[in-house]
C-alpha cells in the first residue's frame, strides 16, 4: 500500500470519496477511471454504454447539495437587478415559496437576522414577500438566497407577475392536495363505516382484513401526498431546530398512520381515518385561510393593477408599445381617452380631463392643461395627450403607496411579541403534554389516541394568526380609504392616543393663503412686490406660494436670487449686490435688527414683512381659510375625549383666533420646528399625535408617538410620518383613529379566542374527552374563526367611533 490511508479518491460514478484500498479501475478510451467498488464501475459502464453519459454532467450541474451549484442558480448578476441601494445598506424583495403559517415567518426572520450582514428581514404575511435590508460588503443576495434554500424556503426575486404566479401555483397545488385528500377520505369513510358495522354485527375475518388493507391503501396518498407540505415543514423544523405546528400535525398523522399499519399486521383496531381526517381537515382550514389572505391583500393589488401594464412610448420617432416597468424618466408616452396613466408625468402636449378619484378620492374630474402633473393610475377621460414621464413606474405614486402598505403589513404590532414568545415555547410544551398523556393513560390504544389528539388540537396557529391578519386587513382597508399606516406598531399606538397636536398652515387651514392686503412703506407697490417676488421665488412655503400667485397676477416676473436660504419658521434671506434681502415674520426681521413700526401688529391674518439692506419696506397680509372639515374634526375629537392643541409658527393673534373658532383646547404660537418638537416632548404622557404637513414639521412628527401628515396627493413618501393621509381631507384623521381602535379591539378578541381555545381544548384532549378527528376540526375552525374575525375590519363602519 503506497498510498497514505488518509488520501482519498473520488468515485466517478457516485461522486463519493473513498479509500485507495477499495480502488477499482477501468480503462475507458485510454483513460483510467476510478471507482469505489465494482457496483459503481458496473453502473458507470451500463450508463455510458446506453448513451446516458450526459447524466453525469447534468448531475454535477444540478446537485442541490452543492453550494456552488445553488449559487449559480441564484445568479448574482440577475439578482443585482432587484437590489435597491441606500446610503449604507441595500434592500431586496423576494417572494418566498413554502411559507405555510405564521411560525414559518417567525423562523425565516429569526434565522436571517442572526446572519451577519443582515440588518433587517421582514416577511409580509399576506403576500409572502420578504424584504431584506442588508450590508452589501458583508453578504451577497445570492448568499441570502442559499441560506433560505437551506432552511427549506425557496426565494425568487419579486415582481408583480412573479407574485401572481407564485400565489396562483400555491393555490393550485393546495387545491389538488385538498381534492385528493377529500376524494380518498370519502373512500376511507366507506370502509370505516363497513368496519364499524362489522364491529357490531360481526364480520368474517377475511372481509375485515380486506377492508383494512383497502383503508391502508387509500390513506397512504392522503398522508404522503396531501400531507406532504406538513411533512416537509416538519422535516425542516427539525433541521432548523425550530419546532413548528407542522411538526405537531406530521407527528399526529404519522403516528396514527404507522400505528394502524402495525395494527393491521397484528389484526387489531386500525385508525387510518384519524390520520386521513387530520390532514384533510387542516388542509381545508389552510385553504380557507389562503383565500382570506388573498381577499385581505386585494386592496393593495387593486391599487397596483390601476396602472396599466403596457405603455405606448416614443422610440426613434415611432410609437411603440412596451412594458410599463421599462419606462424611464424623460420618455414621451401617448394616451388616448379612457386610458389610465402608466407612470407619473407631466402633460407635454394637449389637454384633457382627469379622473383622480383613485388617488385623491375626489369624484369630480379635474381639467389638466399642458404642463400639469399627472399621477399614475388616474384616468385620462377626454383628450388624446402626450405625457413626459417624470418617474419610473417603480417610483410612481401608486407603487410607493403599495410598497408602503406592504411594509406596514410586515411590521409587527407590539402585542404580537407576546403571542410569538408563547407560540415558540408552546410546541415543546405540547410535545411534552402529549408524551405525558400517553403514559398517564397507560400507554394503550386509548392513551395513544389521546396523545394524538393533544398533538393535533394544540396548534398555536390561531395564536400566530391573531395579530398579523388583523394588521393586514386594517392596513389594507386604510389604504382603500387613503389612510396609510406605516406598520402594526403605528396602528397600535394610534389606538392609544390621548392628545392630538395640529400644525396650522396646510393642516387645519387649506394651506393656500391668499394675499389680502399690501402695505408698502417708503416705496411704491410695484417695486415692493418685485423685491418680495424675487426673494420668495423658489420657496415651497405656502405663504411664498400665495405671494407668488399674487405677484404673477400682477404680471411681475421674479428674478431669482442666487443664494436665498430658508430659515424654517422664520423666513427667507438672500444676499444681493445691494445688501441683505429679508422676508418673513416680524420676529425674523427684528432679529436682524430691523425696526418695525408698531402699528402693524393688529390683524389676525398672517403677515410677511420685507426689508432690504437694513431698510424696512412694508408687509403683505395673507389670509388662510380653515379647511371645510376642520371644525367637524376638532369637535368630534373633543367629543371622543381627545385633548387638542395647536402648534404654529404664526403669530399669537392668528393662533388664538383659529383656536377659538375651531374649539381647540390650547395653542402655542411663534414656534420654530425645534420648539414644536420640544413642546411635544414636554406634553404629559407620550401618547401624542402630531398632525402636520410634513415639510417644516418633520422634527415634531418624529418626536410625537404618531406623526401624521396630511399629504397633498403626491407627497406621500414623507419619511418622518408614521401615518399618512393621502387624500386632502382632514376628516380622514377620524377614520384613521376609528380604524386603529377597531383593529385593536379585533386583535384583542382574536388573542382572547386563540388563548381560550387552547386553554379549553388542550385539557379536553389530554383528559381523553376529544377524538382526534374532532381535535383536527376544532383546530381548523379556530384558525378560520380568527381570520374571519379579522376580515370584519374590511367592512366595519368607521364613521361611528
Amino acid at each position: 500500500m503506497a498510498d497514505a490511508p488518509s488520501s482519498t479518491l473520488k468515485c466517478l460514478h457516485c461522486a463519493e470519496e473513498f479509500l485507495p484500498s477499495d480502488l477499482v479501475t477501468e480503462e475507458i478510451d485510454g483513460q483510467t477511471c476510478q471507482f469505489c467498488c465494482h457496483g459503481c464501475r458496473t453502473a458507470y459502464l451500463i450508463i455510458s454504454g446506453s448513451g446516458l453519459q450526459n447524466y453525469y454532467q447534468r448531475r454535477d450541474r444540478e446537485t442541490s447539495a452543492n453550494k456552488e451549484a445553488i449559487a449559480t442558480r441564484f445568479d448574482s448578476d440577475y439578482l443585482a437587478q432587484f437590489v435597491s441601494h441606500n446610503t449604507d445598506s441595500a434592500t431586496i424583495s423576494l417572494i418566498i415559496d413554502g411559507i405555510r403559517c405564521a411560525s414559518c415567518i417567525w423562523v425565516i426572520e429569526k434565522i436571517l437576522q442572526k446572519q451577519a450582514g443582515i440588518i433587517s428581514a421582514r416577511v409580509n404575511f399576506a403576500t409572502h414577500r420578504l424584504l431584506i435590508e442588508f450590508d452589501e460588503k458583508q453578504i451577497s443576495p445570492a448568499a441570502i438566497c442559499i441560506q433560505l434554500t437551506q432552511i427549506g424556503y425557496i426565494p425568487r426575486p419579486y415582481s408583480p407577475s412573479e407574485l401572481q404566479n407564485a400565489s396562483e401555483q400555491e393555490r393550485r397545488s393546495m387545491m389538488f392536495r385538498f381534492g385528493t385528500a377529500v376524494f380518498f377520505s370519502m373512500q376511507l369513510m366507506g370502509f370505516s363505516i363497513a368496519l364499524y358495522a362489522g364491529y357490531f354485527q360481526g364480520i368474517n375475518p377475511e372481509t375485515r382484513q380486506l377492508l383494512q388493507i383497502l383503508a391502508a391503501l387509500v390513506t397512504t396518498p392522503v398522508v404522503f401526498y396531501s400531507g406532504y407540505p406538513f411533512l416537509r415543514g416538519a422535516w425542516y423544523s427539525l433541521i432548523n431546530r425550530q419546532p413548528n405546528m407542522d411538526l405537531l400535525i406530521a407527528l399526529g398523522s404519522l403516528s396514527a398512520y404507522s400505528y394502524s399499519l402495525y395494527a393491521l399486521f397484528l389484526d387489531k383496531e386500525i385508525y387510518f381515518d384519524t390520520a386521513a381526517m387530520i390532514i384533510t381537515l387542516i388542509l381545508a382550514g389552510r385553504l380557507f385561510e389562503t383565500s382570506a389572505r388573498h381577499k385581505a391583500s386585494a386592496g393593495v393589488d387593486r391599487l397596483l393593477t390601476l396602472a396599466p401594464a403596457n405603455a405606448c412610448v416614443l422610440r426613434n420617432e415611432q410609437w411603440v408599445t412596451i412594458d410599463s416597468q421599462q419606462l424611464q424618466p424623460g420618455d414621451r408616452i401617448l394616451l388616448t381617452a379612457g386610458e389610465r396613466f402608466p407612470a407619473d408625468g407631466r402633460i407635454a402636449c394637449g389637454s384633457t380631463e382627469v379622473d383622480e378619484a383613485a388617488v385623491s378620492g375626489e369624484p369630480l374630474p379635474v381639467v389638466k392643461e399642458c404642463g400639469a402633473e399627472v399621477v399614475s393610475g388616474t384616468l385620462n377621460l377626454t383628450g388624446r395627450i402626450e405625457v413626459d414621464v417624470t418617474a419610473a413606474a417603480a417610483d410612481s405614486f401608486i407603487s410607493r403607496v403599495a410598497a408602503l402598505v406592504e411594509q406596514a403589513q410586515a411590521r409587527q404590532a407590539p402585542v404580537q411579541r407576546l403571542a410569538d414568545r408563547i407560540a415558540s415555547l408552546f410546541i415543546p410544551f405540547v410535545l411534552m403534554v402529549a408524551v405525558l398523556t400517553y403514559f398517564f393513560w397507560g400507554g394503550g390504544q386509548a392513551a395513544f389516541l389521546n396523545a394524538i389528539t393533544v398533538l393535533v388540537v394544540a396548534c398555536p396557529c390561531a395564536l400566530g394568526l391573531a395579530t398579523p391578519t388583523a394588521v393586514m386587513v386594517a392596513t389594507g382597508r386604510g389604504a382603500e380609504e387613503g389612510i396609510l399606516f406605516r406598520g402594526g406598531d403605528i396602528l397600535e399606538a394610534t389606538a392609544h392616543l390621548k392628545t392630538v397636536a395640529f400644525d396650522k398652515t396646510g393642516t387645519l387651514t387649506t394651506g393656500k393663503p391668499q394675499v389680502s392686503g399690501i402695505f408698502p412703506v417708503a416705496v411704491d407697490e410695484e417695486q415692493f412686490l418685485q423685491k418680495l417676488a424675487n426673494v420668495e421665488n423658489g420657496s415651497f412655503h405656502p405663504l411664498a406660494k400665495g405671494i407668488l400667485d399674487f405677484t404673477a397676477s400682477r404680471n411681475i416676473v421674479p428674478t431669482s436670487c442666487e443664494n436665498a436660504t430658508t430659515i424654517p419658521g422664520r423666513g427667507i434671506k438672500a444676499t444681493t449686490t445691494d445688501g441683505l434681502l429679508l422676508a418673513g415674520s416680524r420676529l425674523f426681521l427684528e432679529e436682524h435688527g430691523i425696526e418695525l413700526p408698531d402699528s402693524v401688529e393688529k390683524s389676525t391674518n398672517s403677515e410677511v414683512h420685507l426689508a432690504h439692506a437694513g431698510q424696512y419696506y412694508g408687509w403683505v397680509e395673507l389670509h388662510d381659510t380653515p379647511r371645510e372639515d376642520a371644525e367637524k374634526v376638532t369637535a368630534t375629537l373633543k367629543r371622543l375625549g381627545y385633548k387638542t392643541t395647536l402648534l404654529t409658527g404664526d403669530r399669537k393673534k392668528v393662533a388664538a383666533s383659529l383656536t377659538k373658532r375651531l374649539g381647540i383646547d390650547s395653542y402655542h404660537a411663534q414656534l420654530t420646528p425645534a420648539d414644536k418638537a420640544r413642546l411635544i416632548e414636554q406634553l404629559p404622557a407620550a401618547q401624542v399625535m402630531m398632525v402636520g404637513d410634513g415639510i417644516n414639521d418633520a422634527p415634531a412628527l418624529t418626536t410625537a408617538q404618531v406623526g401624521c401628515t396630511l399629504a397633498g396627493s403626491t407627497d406621500i413618501a414623507v419619511e418622518s410620518a408614521d401615518l399618512i393621509l393621502s387624500r386632502p381631507k382632514l376628516s380622514n384623521l377620524l377614520l384613521a383613529l376609528s380604524l386603529s381602535r377597531h383593529s385593536m379591539r379585533i386583535i384583542r378578541q382574536n388573542l382572547f379566542w386563540a388563548f381560550s381555545y387552547n386553554l379549553i381544548a388542550l385539557p379536553l384532549a389530554a383528559s381523553g374527552q376529544l377524538a382526534p378527528v374532532y381535535g383536527a376540526a376544532a383546530m381548523a375552525i379556530s384558525s378560520v374563526c380568527v381570520v374571519t374575525n379579522s376580515l370584519r375590519l374590511k367592512r366595519i363602519n368607521l364613521n361611528n367611533a
Binding site: C11, H13, C14, A15, E16, L19, S21, D22, C36, C37, H38, G39, C40, R41, T42, A43, L45, I46, I47, G49, S50, G51, L52, N54, Y55, Y56, R58, R59, S64, A65, T149, Q150, G152, W235, I239, F265
Partner: protein
C-alpha cells in the same frame, strides 16, 4: 413475525446510505427521458417495485434451496458446517462493514455484473415509454451485484424457508426505497451521515448473523 424480517428492513434502511451513491445514480440516469427531462416519481416507484420483486424472487429461490439442504438428512454434516460457517461469515462481514477490519467489508464482496448484456437490455428498454420500461429495468437491475444483497441472500438461505426467505428479501428491498427518493438537501443530509449509517447497517448484518447462529446451534444440538 420473524424478527429477521424487521431486521432486514432496518438493514435496508441503513444500508441505503450506500445505495444512494451507486443505485441512486443509476436510477437517476435511467429516469432521464430522451429529451433529457426527469420522468418523475412514477418511474422511480415502478423501478423500485421491480427491484424489490427481483429481490423477493431471489429470496424465495434461495430460501427454497436452504430448506432443501436442511431436509436432506444425508447432507446433515455438510449442512451443519455450511450453516455455521456462513453465519460466522456474515457476522464477520457485518463487523467488517461496521469498521472492525479494514479489508473485509461489504464493498469487497461486490463483483462486476454482466455489463454488456445489461447495457444492451437497457438500450432496448429505453425505446419504450418510461412508465413501461421502469418495471423491467427494476427487475433486471435487482440482479445487479451488491454486497449487502449477498449478505441478505445468505440470511435468506439460512431461514431455510422459501416464504421467509422471500419476505426477508422483500423487507430489505422496501427498506432501501425511501433513501432513493430523497433529493436535494435531504440527500445531502443523508450523504453526510453515509459512513455511520453504513456502519450501523454492518452491525445490523452482524446481528442477523448472530441471531441465525444461535438458532442453528439450538436447532442442530
Amino acid at each position: 413475525m420473524d424478527p429477521l424480517i424487521s431486521m432486514a428492513f432496518m438493514t435496508g434502511l441503513l444500508g441505503s446510505a450506500h445505495c444512494i451513491g451507486m443505485c441512486g445514480g443509476l436510477v437517476s440516469a435511467l429516469s432521464l427521458t430522451v429529451d433529457g427531462r426527469n420522468s418523475g416519481v412514477l418511474f422511480h416507484l415502478l423501478y423500485n417495485l421491480g427491484r424489490t420483486i427481483t429481490y423477493s424472487l431471489i429470496g424465495f429461490l434461495v430460501g427454497w434451496l436452504g430448506s432443501a439442504m436442511v431436509v436432506k438428512n444425508s447432507l446433515q454434516e455438510i449442512t451443519r458446517v455450511l450453516l455455521i460457517g456462513s453465519d460466522l461469515f456474515i457476522i464477520l462481514i457485518g463487523l467488517g462493514t461496521a469498521g472492525l477490519f479494514a479489508r473485509l467489508n461489504i464493498m469487497t464482496l461486490e463483483i462486476s455484473g454482466p455489463i454488456s448484456s445489461m447495457t444492451n437490455a437497457v438500450k432496448g428498454l429505453r425505446r419504450l415509454p418510461p412508465a413501461l420500461s421502469a418495471i423491467p429495468l427494476g427487475l433486471m437491475f435487482g440482479f445487479l451485484p451488491c454486497g449487502l444483497l449477498y449478505a441478505m441472500a445468505l440470511t435468506a438461505v439460512q431461514s431455510a424457508d422459501s416464504l421467509t426467505g422471500a419476505l426477508i428479501m422483500a423487507a430489505f428491498g422496501l427498506g432501501t426505497i425511501p433513501a432513493l427518493f430523497l433529493v436535494g438537501s435531504a440527500a445531502h443530509w443523508f450523504s453526510t451521515r453515509r459512513s455511520w449509517m453504513l456502519k450501523a447497517a454492518g452491525i445490523m448484518v452482524a446481528l442477523m448473523g448472530c441471531y441465525n447462529l444461535l438458532n442453528h446451534i439450538r436447532m442442530l444440538s
